[in-house]
Symmetry: C2
DNA sequence: GTAATAGTGTCTATCAGACATTATAAC
DNA sequence: GTTATAATGTCTGATAGACACTATTAC
């Protein structure tokens, strides 16, 4: 480190300045059949209450790597693709010292996080996430905004439904994510050109069986998260 | 600092971890009558070439304060309202050591930065900003995307034109910012309800004089940046 | 007068919203 | 058969795009 003898206009090197600790905190979102959009919380290391999974950035590590490490260690979830939301930088936001936190969001299929370490993790509805420390409530809000924007006009871009689904299943998922009813006709007309038929039919339903579709073009995208 | 005896699961305190230096870099955008959308660049402190204005974050300072300080010192521009874009975190991105950079964007009226320290600052078109170090080209790209989204359906939200303008002046500004022609009819119909007439007329033009408008509701918003 | 630009009116194609109709299953 | 849901067709109102027409200035 700092082998390059850089000095600023005051003649000081990088090492002469105090540096903040940098943390990452992540809102991992998924869709619960009953509850709707839920966020993963972990028991805090000091034992008091719950919070979003997070960790301090290690040397030589990217933010995304730190996010993946924290989720692997704290919730047993691996292979994520986190996205930055915002840097929380109030100098007094953490009483342990000067800590910046980079809020992230990630979206995963429900089976990836259900029944993982149930005593130290829980899934809470995004509208009532409970009492959370730091800026975690703010991170959840930004995460939900991000997800709703993604789901405004594309069919399940984060693959929460898997690869094959009926248009009704797709619409119900979008309604639970965006929190408002979607027009049935408009929804089909908008999504149809972005879907391709599988030829298969859903079974065990009440009326005429619905056709199963998959996302057009993005083969296997649904297994990403 | 670190008066709280916090220890993590390995028994280490915050001070035991190496911490990154944190920098801010800012794309200050404005509109040049001839050139179009331009970005402010400053001569680098090591003398080699040009870059976006930036600085290292000081203790007890927010990111926005660091941005304001860097622009005040390096370009004589004050009173800005920067917005975060992205954290650049590649561990080897800066050969001076471990440095994270938070990219920012801000938009100011051209007279705020023109003829400020012309030997150490310059304005370059955003499409051809020259050779830039670090992630500065990426920051400019994100800054332009941000500005184009802001200008997609609202009349000059950052007040680049001042408080009073004709609809033609407004449309030309939007065209230079978004980089594509805007439909004349649609533009008037979209913007008209968001404008209020001043009763005054533009003078010295070729044909029928155009009415001057101001933004509806947001009195004085144009003098912000 | 002519040329140029501002502002208004109108036609049309597109599309969201609404509703009707037909198809096909469970019961 | 009845009931429920899927899929398709059709009508309507709103609006973007296009163009015509009038108004008012410089020259």
């Amino acid at each position: 480190m700092n082998t390059n003898p850089y000095r600023d206009s005051s003649g000081r090197t990088l090492a002469d300045y105090p540096r903040p600790s940098v943390a990452v905190d992540t809102a991992v979102l998924t869709l619960d059949e009953q509850v709707g959009l839920v966020v993963l919380e972990v028991r805090r290391t000091n034992g008091a209450g719950w919070g979003l999974p997070g960790t301090f950035l290690h040397e030589g590590e990217t933010l995304a790597d730190a996010v993946r490490r924290s989720l692997d260690v704290k919730a047993g979830v691996s292979g994520l693709n986190p996205r930055q939301l915002h840097v929380f930088d109030a100098p007094d936001r953490d009483d342990r010292g000067w800590v910046l936190s980079v809020g992230h969001v990630d979206v995963v299929r429900p089976e990836r996080i259900q029944s993982r370490a149930p005593s130290t993790t829980r899934l809470m509805p995004v509208e009532r996430p409970g009492r959370l420390p730091y800026d975690h409530a703010d991170i959840i809000e930004r995460a939900v905004d991000y997800l709703r924007a993604r789901y405004s006009d594309r069919p399940d871009p984060d693959g929460l439904l898997g690869d094959e689904f009926t248009i009704l299943q797709l619409r119900l998922a979008h309604e639970r994510i965006t929190g408002r009813a979607m027009q049935r006709d408009w929804f089909r007309r908008t999504m149809d050109p972005q879907l391709e038929p599988t030829g298969l039919m859903a079974t065990g339903t009440r009326g005429r069986p619905a056709e199963l579709f998959r996302r057009r073009g993005t083969a296997g995208a649904g297994t990403r998260g």
